[in-house]
Amino acid sequence: MAEQANSPTGSIYDLGYRPHEGERLGRAYATFALFVYSLRGVFGLGRSALSKVFSMGLAVVALVPAAIQLGIAAIAPLELEIIPPEEYFSFVQIVLALFCAVVAPEIIGRDQRNRTLPLYFSRALSRPDYVTSKLGALAAGVFIVVGLPQVILLLGSAVATDDVVSYLGDNAGDLPPILGGSLLVAVFFATVSLTIASQTPRRAFATGGVLAYFVIFTILGSILVNTTSGTVQDYSVLISPIDVLDGSVHWLFGAQPPSDSDLVHSGLAGGVYVLAAFAYIGAALGLLFRRFMRLTV
């Protein structure tokens, strides 16, 4: 060392840098890690108390219909079903829209606002990986918010009856449509909300945009169904994201929608709603990935 320091042309010191000798976990692990981190962020875990209040508060509100039904089931001696399983989604639809409006800008907008996106994209994680993680996190979050109350309701109703085993035997068939319907609802809400929220880094605009989309288009679809006639009437219901999902959920349960709903006014077959839901999801996915592939960071 000493002789190097004496040389007139400068010197190179050995600072002790060493290459990483541990296991390289790679892209897949990075994607998974970002998914877990984002899923915690959906419920505000590891964030400030304020971000927990709204997301967890809305998740609790989504449990209220199940709690009411179970409370009645515990007191009333007769089997009194106020909320049939296929109707649970329509009770919590506005809560889900609010949940996505609150959470989607946090998930997809924070990295743009804090300028951390270049850090992600300069590592092993590719842009599609990033979007997949974020999308998976929000979809998983919405799946928990909409699915958990329904599973609790199913198990709770079983416990409230005299014969738990026979109740579960009779109603076990509800479980696949509960999970399938919740999955479809979750993926739909997640893709559409993230697509809207990713258009602007500003949280306020993203939140307003997501909620405005769900509220305005649902009202528009509903008004058009009740105002027009013929083929236009049948297909205008597909404008409404909530009715598309409601129709799909009823189809999955094999149940008839209530007589006063928009679904009855339009006489579309249940499978059409599922196709429409997939079309919406596909279009939103296309726009979301396109947005991130083109984004200059």
Partner: protein, 244 residues
């Protein structure tokens, strides 16, 4: 100075891309009214205008969303961007900052929603039965002030005014008032409908509000004056510190 802040705020609001989207929102009722006129469903025009167009779309979504986005940003954006310091350090009583900000939000909200109400109403009713349009028009302008005041209060009192406002509008006014009818007295939407019904004085078949006209007027006045006083108090308590 009041006039200057007022004009400055209007310019900030009008120059934004999101205001263009709000104008698009206000155009939706007009489009629906045209669809209604073109199609022949046999629904009575007065009933459709009051219950479907106004109650279903304008009062439920267009008015609260417009007021929410404008009301929370007039002061909220200044706080978020850190420009509030330049306003608050002016040698002015705080109400002289609050008043023009609120007035600008109200003016823009009311003009967007009123235009939407009147134009769509005239198209749907073929110009006839103007009582419905007058009733709802006046109610919209008053309700716009009430909404803007409440949302300005939220933007001064909390950092998440938009989310709190959305929860108030869509969870409280949208869902809770549907289940527990008594709390409709605590809802700007239902008191505004009371005013509309009171002024329009249409038959019950065409439109009927839950809250009575006089009660609604008193409640809205309390909301507006109380809200403005509270917002002023909150704004007076804001201390200008070294920005973080």
């Amino acid at each position: 100075m009041i006039g200057f802040i007022f004009l400055l705020t209007l310019r900030q609001l009008i120059g934004r891309r999101s205001t263009l989207l709000l104008a698009g929102l206000a155009a939706l009722p007009v489009l629906l009214a045209i669809v209604f006129r073109l199609s022949d469903t046999g629904t009575e025009a007065g009933e459709w205008t009051a219950q479907v167009l106004y109650l279903g779309l304008v009062v439920t979504a267009v008015l609260p969303l417009t007021a929410l986005l404008l009301g929370t940003c007039v002061l909220g954006d200044e706080f978020e961007d850190g420009t509030a310091v330049y306003l608050l350090t002016k040698p002015l009583p705080r109400w002289q900052i609050l008043a023009p900000k609120l007035a600008a939000a109200w003016l823009l909200t009311a003009s967007l929603v009123l235009t939407s109400t009147v134009v769509s109403g005239v198209i749907a009713l073929k110009g006839g039965d103007s009582a419905i349009i007058t009733g709802f028009g006046i109610a919209m302008v008053i309700a716009a002030l009430a909404y803007c005041t409440v949302f300005v209060v939220l933007s001064v009192a909390t950092t998440r005014a938009l989310i709190a406002g959305l929860i108030y509008v869509f969870l409280w006014e949208g869902a809770v008032t549907g289940i527990f009818e008594g709390v409709r007295y605590l809802s700007i939407r239902h008191t505004a409908l009371g005013i509309a019904d009171w002024i329009a004085a249409v038959p019950e078949d065409t439109f009927d509000a839950y809250v009575g006209g006089e009660t609604a007027a008193i409640l809205l006045a309390v909301a507006i004056i109380g809200g403005a006083l509270f917002a002023n108090r909150k704004l007076e308590q804001v201390e200008v510190r070294e920005s973080s």
